[in-house]
Amino acid sequence: MFNLAILKDTVAVHPADFGTPQELAIMTELNKKYANRVLHDVGLCICVFDLTEAGEGKVRYGDGFLWYKVVFRMLVFRPFQTEVLLAKVMSSDHNGVRLSLDFFDDIYVPIHYLPVPNAFDPNERAHFWHASGDAEAKQTELLDTPVTERMWIDKGEIVRVRVEGDEFYDDEPGPVKMAEGVQVVKEVQTRAPFTIFASMAEQGLGPVSWWATAQPEDGEEQDEIMEDG
């Protein structure tokens, strides 16, 4: 899940911080700049791990800051492909399930990565897996199944998923467009800068409670777990 990225940057330390030890001042600046931000093709930055190398602080013309060239290691969240994660179900809709890790919410399980056969019950706002059912069953047939046979992927449940891939988007707003002297506000759909796609379509994946007893067909067990969640 987590790894260390080696980055290089130049940071400015404000004169007010000259009293604090250099390393600490530099790390504070780096944390200010990177923490909780997505670095393209690197991942979500958590915090500075350590400084590998820092040059002499230099004063540039124009301000009183000390500028340091630093090579440092950053603690980054970016699970590798095929990695197995534990996550919480955040929401479900017709397109799939969205998962949360508390500090990162852009994990999606698209519908084709859910266990087959599955269906989305709009009344419950949740997907379910019909474990004993026919893999070729149609949505309407699945929605007619008795509720007790369904294995729900409920909101708030802890699920085990496999990372299938991730995507980075860098949507820059672009130049401001003017039409007849008035600024035109373009409707831009905001995409998350870093999205992970995960799968539940495998033995052992999906809600942890399904596999806790290795007897997923046990209806009673299932009910009990759902009450817990």
Partner: protein, 232 residues
């Protein structure tokens, strides 16, 4: 005379242009290696908790200095010429948010980190040596602590071909052993692998009175009640 003036004007322009060029080159952040090492959840959790404890300690000291100064009527916290008070601890919003949420995730009940210790993790990794797991597989075994066989199936590719039934049981045993070793989580009190931040406290630029204060902050470092203080 005119020529002279022109020369004089030209020279700095050239210089400053140079400077801008240099600056823009050096300012861009560069990624040298996006993935130089993998960290286990446990390592990340202990690192973040250390950071948290350290932040609390520093906030506390700053708070006390401020109080003392107020009591003594010598409020010199705002430096002459304005600027940030020297005693204030900067709160890094983003860092605090992400580390708080990450700690929440990593120390949740469903995570194995709550019952791990550094020794147990090292032991577990050593005991997994002989099964021919890849690095990534070992990392995930540490992170997820699979006690059920089905969990191991998910983590290890083609498990049946690679391990015998007995070996699978053995692996589960090793995992169980590593978890049982830790009665409670006491990461904060453990020696740090990041002396940098700790050193910062030792170098704390302060009077003798404050050194005394520093002595007793160790016990209170993790007290939850202190969380409110950084809001001030």
């Amino acid at each position: 005379m005119a020529r002279h003036a022109q020369k004089w004007r030209d020279a700095p322009a050239l210089n400053s242009g140079d400077e801008v060029n240099k600056a823009s080159q050096s300012m861009e952040a560069r990624v040298i290696n996006p993935r130089s090492a993998l960290l286990s959840n446990y390592e990340v959790l202990s690192l973040l908790q250390e950071l948290e404890a350290d932040h609390l300690a520093r906030t506390k000291i700053a708070h006390r200095i401020k109080k003392e100064e107020e009591a003594a009527g010598t409020d010199v916290s705002v430096p002459i010429g304005g600027g940030r008070p020297s005693t204030a601890v900067e709160t890094l919003e983003n860092l605090r948010t992400v580390s708080f949420e990450a700690i929440k995730y990593l120390s949740a009940d469903h995570q194995s980190t709550t019952s791990q210790t550094p020794e147990a993790v090292t032991e577990l990794v050593k005991s997994l040596e002989s099964y021919g797991f890849t690095k990534a597989e070992k990392l995930q075994i540490v992170n997820l602590a699979p006690q059920e066989q089905i969990e191991l199936y998910v983590i290890v590719e083609e498990l049946e071909d690679r391990l015998s039934q007995e070996q699978m049981v053995e692996v589960a045993e090793h995992v169980k052993k590593s978890l049982a070793a830790a009665p409670s989580l006491s990461i904060v009190a453990q020696p740090s692998h990041k002396p940098l931040i700790v050193k910062a406290d030792e170098n704390w630029d302060a009077t003798d009175d404050v050194d005394e204060e520093f002595d007793d902050q160790g016990e209170g470092a993790g007290v939850e009640g202190d969380l409110d203080m950084e809001e001030d």
